[in-house]
């Protein structure tokens, strides 16, 4: 066990996830939140990554104490406020 060749990358899983994202994004394209309706979405409490440096430092601590890594916050809330 342990080492695995790059040919064992889970391509099928990655492809399924990509298709899911594309389908979701197309569905999301049918949703329209108008600019004047984005007051709450622009609030820092609704914005991903708004923890900024404090959030990054916490992730640094947890990554060093757990066996897992990745999929941290990506800044932004899709609100068009940046």
């Amino acid at each position: 066990m342990g080492s695995r060749s790059s040919s064992e990358f889970p391509w099928r899983g990655a492809l399924a996830l990509l298709l899911l994202v594309l389908a979701g994004a197309l569905a999301g394209g049918c949703v329209t939140v108008r600019p004047e309706e984005r007051e709450y979405l622009a609030d820092p409490a609704m914005t991903f990554g708004s923890e900024g440096t404090a959030g990054a430092q916490e992730e640094h601590v947890l990554t060093n104490r757990e066996g897992s890594y990745g999929a941290g916050d990506v800044t932004g809330g899709g609100c068009g406020c940046n």
């Binding site: 342990g2 889970p10 409490a45 440096t53 897992s68 999929a71 916050d73």
Partner: protein
């Protein structure tokens, strides 16, 4: 003393780099400076661990379409670690024979972001150094907004070139004969024949999709894939194998995958937001984990925000993990790393943010637009059902994390 002088010189170099980025000749339209410090204290008997992590970051926007940033952060580590995991002893157990650990790690980084009406691209570089480890990391990324900015895609790729110090043992053929490193003295010194180094190459891909579904509901899906190739053991840690102890031996290749779904829901009657995250992780060492997090953030009078949250984490052990390699070996690899054992953790905490904006209710901040004070505290409890030092359970399974920071927007 040598370390202190070196650190001082590096701080001076950083100050010079920050000064070069500061708006001297060209006037910056906007910018931000933040300084944060996080304290991590893990307590329990002789294995206490204290890590102080100060960080300063400066961002200037010389034009609407361009941001430049530079930052410095450090890890100042003091504590004790177990040198030989599961060492048999009739008089002292592995914990009371723990060795003192002191380390000082610095990371200097800089980057830029260019924006247009279609999205943004960014690039950054970071250099990390400490007595026994060096790293170079390059990151590029891009993001774009679609569908009237209700949808955002973000992609990034990071490449890391790290180097770890080891004990030089050219005659050793088998991992079970390899001795651990007992000190960082002489590391990265070409004239010291007792030390050598091994490379670690890292590639990290990350993509995210952020979607506003309604005026009060937004989600984010983030996926990360990482490939690490090279030396991934702790050179200081040895594992008792029955007749002798050897430096722990991990596989040289690790594929790591993580996916996280986050959602935020605005609760209009309370003027607050419910925040929920679920993350799944697995890798080719067979470590699997689930993380669930729930938080509530409340705004009070627009100037104060308070956030309470809880987090649960559960992890399955690596396929080659054993609590006793003398009796239960697991193939060619062996580890004394508790982060590769079965694990559960519970975390709860509060965050308080106080923000003053110039012009609001007559507030004057001089050259600054916004002043923000952030205070944060969390308590973490870990459980290791099948990790022991000899016959002793992990004593340092509780920790506190505190952060204090200031943001200045100008």
């Amino acid at each position: 003393m040598r370390v202190q002088l070196t650190a001082r010189h590096r701080l001076l170099a950083l100050a010079a780099a920050l000064a070069a980025l500061a708006p001297t000749g060209a006037r910056a339209d906007t910018g931000e400076f933040d300084a944060y410090s996080t304290l991590f204290y893990e307590f329990g008997g002789p294995l206490e661990m204290l890590v102080v992590n100060p960080r300063a970051n400066l961002r200037v926007d010389p034009a609407d379409e361009l941001s430049l940033n530079a930052s410095y952060d450090a890890d100042i580590v003091s504590g004790a670690s177990v040198a030989v995991v599961d060492a048999p002893s009739t008089e002292v157990d592995a914990i009371t024979s723990a060795t003192q650990l002191d380390d000082f790690r610095s990371v200097i980084s800089g980057g830029l972001t260019a924006r247009s009406q279609y999205g943004s691209i960014r690039g950054s570089y970071a250099y990390g150094f400490e007595s026994d480890y060096r790293s170079h990391s390059f990151t590029i990324g891009a993001r774009t907004d679609l569908f009237e900015r209700n949808t955002t895609f973000d992609l990034s790729y990071a490449r890391g070139f790290d180097e770890a110090c080891l004990l030089n043992q050219p005659r050793v053929q088998e991992a079970v004969e390899r001795r651990r490193l007992d000190s960082s003295d002489g590391c990265f010194d070409d004239e010291n024949v007792d030390r050598t180094s091994e490379d670690i190459d890292l590639q990290t891909f990350q993509g995210s999709w952020t979607q506003a579904w309604a005026p009060i509901f937004v989600t984010q899906l983030t996926v990360t894939a990482q490939l690490i190739e090279g030396f991934q053991s702790n050179p200081y840690r040895a594992v008792w194998l029955g007749r002798s102890a050897a430096q722990e031996h991990h596989p040289n290749t690790r594929f790591r995958y993580a996916a996280r779904l986050s959602a935020r829901l605005w609760v209009e009657p309370l003027s607050g937001a419910i925040q929920a995250n679920v993350r799944a992780y697995r890798d080719n060492w067979d470590v699997r984990s689930i993380t669930a997090e729930l938080a509530y953030e409340q705004s009070i009078d627009g100037a104060v925000r308070i956030r309470a949250r809880g987090r649960y984490y559960t992890q399955g052990a690596a396929a080659f993990y054993s609590d006793n390699y003398a009796l239960m070996p697991r193939g060619q690899y062996f580890t004394g790393d508790r982060e590769l054992a079965d694990m559960e953790s519970f975390m709860a905490g509060l965050q308080l943010i106080w923000q003053v904006t110039s012009g609001t209710e007559g507030a004057s901040l001089g050259p600054f637009q916004t002043f923000r004070l952030v205070a944060k505290a969390d308590f973490i409890h870990h459980q290791f059902p099948n990790f022991r030092y000899g016959g002793a359970s992990v004593p340092n399974n509780n920790s506190i994390v505190g952060t204090l920071g200031v943001d200045l927007v100008f």
